[in-house]
């Protein structure tokens, strides 16, 4: 890498080299039995160069031919992709706890035994089918650039997702466990899954209409996806966001606070720098319902006369090969501030409503406009403070700029969800279509 940057600096004004080495084991249990173990050992190097304010980008899995990689990046300059930003000079980053070396010694056998234990505990109390995905993942990122930056980090991640499936479907009650190292699955994790499942065993067909709707930590991503779209510097720059000119304005209910905090070691893999080596920061997106910040990478920050907020990440829409993706504005460390009520208190406050325990089609609504229209897989029906069954053939639909004004309660605990940690949130007056 050091040789590569020296070589590239000979022909370009600005150079950045990003390298990633990753080791990942995925263990799948289906119907209570071990089905698959897949291992992936991947590495790669990505190169960005800037010459005459034009950007070149290239990547490779095997750094055997340095000249070839530079040649590729030079070729990509020809298209004339504008880039007037500088790579940052980053030093003296805080030391974050994001890696636990025990992960490298963690055997698949230990995790398989733990999955078997979880299956057994659930099966003692429930007839449903148990599926588990466990992931043992560790990786190293190093970024060098022509401004003198040389930063590196190691991340370790243990992840366990348990799903208890309803008959005839993949609709399930599920919960995620995430840590830097292997941890035993706590009893309350198992109790939540089993108790919620058992209460929803009956199929019900209540009438549709407007009612209270509770999104769980596992399904809140449906709404957050639309907020992330609206507050990205890219959407603002392209005039494709309803949040343009709304900074400082109250757009959601005052009980709703959403921050992005890569520096918090307790909630997900902490990062002191983003994938462009910009130092990260705690960034409030929505504070008590007020829109506080958009989030930026180097490219859009420069175009919009702002500073990067340390949100330049190699995150694709569907792609998972980080090496092949250019950094862009992304929220990877979301956190919703918990409220005052416990889950059972929230539940008992619902006279009539739906719990969104699984969502289908979060990607298919009009995301720029903030619309969502999701199938429930499953939806749990709540009557007089109790879960009385589950719905099929039902949809929940709305627009985040209306629904998020109608927050009734925010749970007092957070759980891992998609790219963050969230409580359950209860909304009033949401449209439910049912057969």
């Amino acid at each position: 890498m050091d040789k590569l940057i020296k070589l590239a600096e000979k022909c370009c004004e600005k150079v950045e080299v990003y390298s990633l080495d990753e080791h990942l084991n995925r263990i799948n249990f289906e119907n209570g039995r071990l089905k698959e173990i897949e291992t992936s050992i991947q590495s790669g190097v990505a190169l960005r160069i800037i010459k005459d304010n034009k950007l070149g980008f290239a990547y490779t899995k095997n750094l055997q031919d340095r000249e070839g990689l530079i040649e590729n990046a030079l070729n990509s300059l020809k298209g004339g992709v504008q880039a007037e930003f500088d790579f940052p000079e980053t030093k003296n980053l805080p030391e974050l706890k994001s890696y636990d070396e025990s992960i490298e010694e963690l055997s698949n056998e230990t995790v398989v035994k733990e999955c078997e234990r979880v299956v057994k505990k659930i099966s003692e109390r429930s007839k449903g089918q148990v599926n588990i995905t466990a992931i043992i993942d560790y990786f190293k990122i190093r970024i060098l650039n022509s401004s003198g930056t040389d930063v590196a980090t190691r991340i370790s991640n243990y992840y366990l997702r348990t799903s208890l499936l309803f008959p005839n479907s993949y609709a399930s009650i599920e919960r995620i466990l995430q840590d830097r190292k292997f941890v035993h699955t706590p009893d309350d994790y198992i109790d939540y899954i089993v108790d919620t499942y058992n209460r929803s065993s009956k199929e019900v067909s209540p009438p549709g209409g407007r009612m209270k709707v509770l999104f769980l930590p596992e399904t809140l991503y449906v709404l957050l996806w639309r907020i992330a779209y609206a507050t990205s510097a890219e959407s603002i720059y392209r005039n494709a966001s309803p949040a343009v000119n709304k900074i400082g304005k109250k757009i959601f209910h005052e009980d709703f606070t959403l921050i992005n905090d890569p520096l918090n070691e307790d909630f997900g893999p902490a990062r002191a720098f983003d994938d462009e080596a910009t130092p990260t920061q705690m960034l409030p997106i929505i504070e008590n319902g007020v829109l506080k910040n958009f989030y930026y990478d180097l490219n859009y920050a420069q175009k919009m006369n702002k500073k990067s907020s340390g949100n330049g990440f190699k995150t694709g829409r569907w792609e998972s090969e980080k090496i092949a993706i250019k950094p862009g504005p992304a929220l990877e460390h979301l956190f919703i501030t918990p409220g005052k009520a416990s889950f059972s208190e929230i539940l008992s406050s619902i006279d009539q409503g739906i719990i969104v325990a699984g969502a289908l089609g979060a990607h298919s609504g009009n995301i720029p406009n903030g619309d969502f229209s999701i199938g429930l897989a499953p939806g749990l029906y709540v009557k007089d403070g109790r879960i009385v069954g589950r719905l099929k053939d039902a949809m929940v639909a709305g627009n985040i700029y209306e629904v998020l004004q109608n927050v009734i309660a925010v749970e007092n605990r957070v759980y891992p969800g998609m790219v963050g940690y969230f409580p359950a949130i209860l909304f009033d007056n949401v449209n439910v279509a049912s057969r």
Binding site: V81, V112, Y170, D371
Partner: protein, 454 residues
């Protein structure tokens, strides 16, 4: 390349192994609005090794040849662990051992064309919507993916195949005040660059739809009779039905497996569904899957009765059904999984006008916008539609999301058109992305569908 793979294989002490090496080249050109935001051309490579040991089947993906020994050790350990902890021993269904180098015929090999030509064509199509007031932005890109695959197995298979996929696709976003509407655009396929030329009309039509959507009314939530166009019906076939023809998805789900028994009457008698990756000149074409098995056309539903399903060699044994070459990987980072190739509803004899007349009152729903299934239940979105009254098309509607029960909906298909169309852009995300996943259908009439509205 086969020799290199054999040198790895020689060190594998297993009952069966296969090794796939792939070189993947990718050219990407992206416009966001007027601005070119990416132009890259790169290649990457890697290996996937699968071993069967004592009845345990495991896989490992690795990047460098030097890592092979470490990979062999790890994958054998995984296979033994599976064998020890699983009650079912894996047995691969016997297949014909093939030795072939297969290079598909392309109408203009994109690898031989200059990047400038690709850039100019993409720019031209991108400018079509941007010329129009009220188009806020576009995200339109050219993607070319070519995979050179080399496969050997301990049974003696030696197969090389090339898959070249090209497309120009993305979104057009219109805006009027706070109302933002987006439509998808896309042309592409797997038989060369030629099919991307002279497609201005497609981009003009979609631009017009994006503008009309600003004046369309949201569809009210409720239950309706609907006609789905080819794209919508194709996605329905893929999402709602197709995934449960994939044996691995139902293998370990006893209740779904019971429902999806062969000879079960799942749909109305007029419904025939097939998966056929061997049809030439369509997106989903391939000759061999990533287990070295030759792809075969597979009838799934015949007169509404389930008569077949899609298999890997492993699941073919589990179900006691013939393998049909449907086990495919995204690229060198993954072991193969069961995928649809080209799934479609077979055409009947009716025209769209006849379907509209039969519908009477309801909605005509057009062009898919992604879907998802949880087994019995599915949800998928449409880009736009029209009110239909007494068989006549009325005003445009937007915000259409459909939800339903698979088995009820298959039974409620009451009329099928004569105008089969297969999609040009794929993208199925079952764990891995499959950009060649192809689906299609003629127009179909379905009774009593739930629409979510907003």
């Amino acid at each position: 390349m086969f020799e290199t793979l054999k040198n790895i294989g020689i060190k594998v002490d297993a009952d069966y192994f296969d090794i796939r090496y792939e070189k993947k080249s990718e050219t990407k050109i992206i416009f966001d609005g007027k601005e070119l935001t990416q132009l890259t051309s790169n290649s990457t490579d890697g290996y996937v090794l699968r071993v069967l040991k004592d009845g345990g089947l495991a896989s490992i993906a690795f990047t460098r040849f030097e890592e092979a020994e470490k990979a062999i050790k790890q994958v054998l350990e995984n296979a033994r662990l599976i064998a020890k902890n699983s009650q079912k021993k894996v047995v691969l269904a016997p297949v014909e051992v093939k030795k072939e180098r297969f290079i598909p015929h392309l109408n203009q090999d994109p690898r031989k064309l200059s990047i400038d030509e690709k850039l100019e064509l993409t720019r031209r199509y991108n400018e079509i919507p941007l010329r129009v007031k009220k188009i806020a932005t576009t995200h339109i890109g050219y993607l070319e993916v070519s995979r050179e695959k080399y496969f050997i197995s301990s049974e003696g298979a030696e197969i090389a195949e090339e898959l070249v996929t090209t497309r120009i696709n993305g979104t057009i976003t219109s805006r009027d005040g706070n109302l933002i509407q987006t439509v998808r655009v896309g042309i592409g396929g797997s038989d060369g660059f030629g099919r991307l030329r002279n497609q201005d009309e497609h981009f003009e039509k979609k631009t017009s739809i994006a503008l009309q959507l600003l004046r369309a009314e949201p569809i009210p939530a409720g239950n309706y009779n609907v006609i789905l166009n080819q794209s919508m019906a194709g996605v329905f076939t893929h999402e709602a039905f197709g995934h449960f023809s994939e044996a691995d998805l139902i293998e370990d789900n006893p209740t779904m497996r019971e429902k999806m028994k062969l000879n079960a009457q799942l749909g109305s008698e007029i419904l025939n569904i097939k998966d056929d990756p061997t049809i030439p000149h369509q997106l989903g074409f391939y000759k061999y899957d990533d287990e070295g098995v030759e792809a075969k056309p597979t009838q799934l539903l015949k007169n509404g009765v389930l008569v077949g399903r899609l298999h890997s060699r492993r699941t073919a044994t589990v179900f006691g059904e013939p393998p049909n070459g449907h086990c495919v990987a995204e690229d060198f980072r993954y072991a193969p999984i069961i995928r649809m190739g080209t799934i479609f509803i077979e055409p009947d004899r009716f025209t769209l006008d006849q379907l509209l007349e039969e519908l009477g009152d309801g909605y005509y729903i057009i062009d898919a916008k992604g879907g998802q299934t949880s087994g019995e239940n599915f949800t998928f979105g449409a880009q736009y539609g029209y009110v239909v009254k007494k068989g006549k098309l009325g005003s445009m509607v937007r915000d259409i999301n459909i939800s339903g029960n698979l088995y009820k909906t298959l039974m409620n298909i009451s009329m099928i058109g004569n105008d089969l169309e297969l999609c040009q852009i794929g993208g199925c995300g079952k764990g891995q992305l499959n950009i060649r996943s192809c689906n299609g259908s003629p127009h179909i009439l379905i009774k009593d569908v739930v629409i979510g509205g907003i």
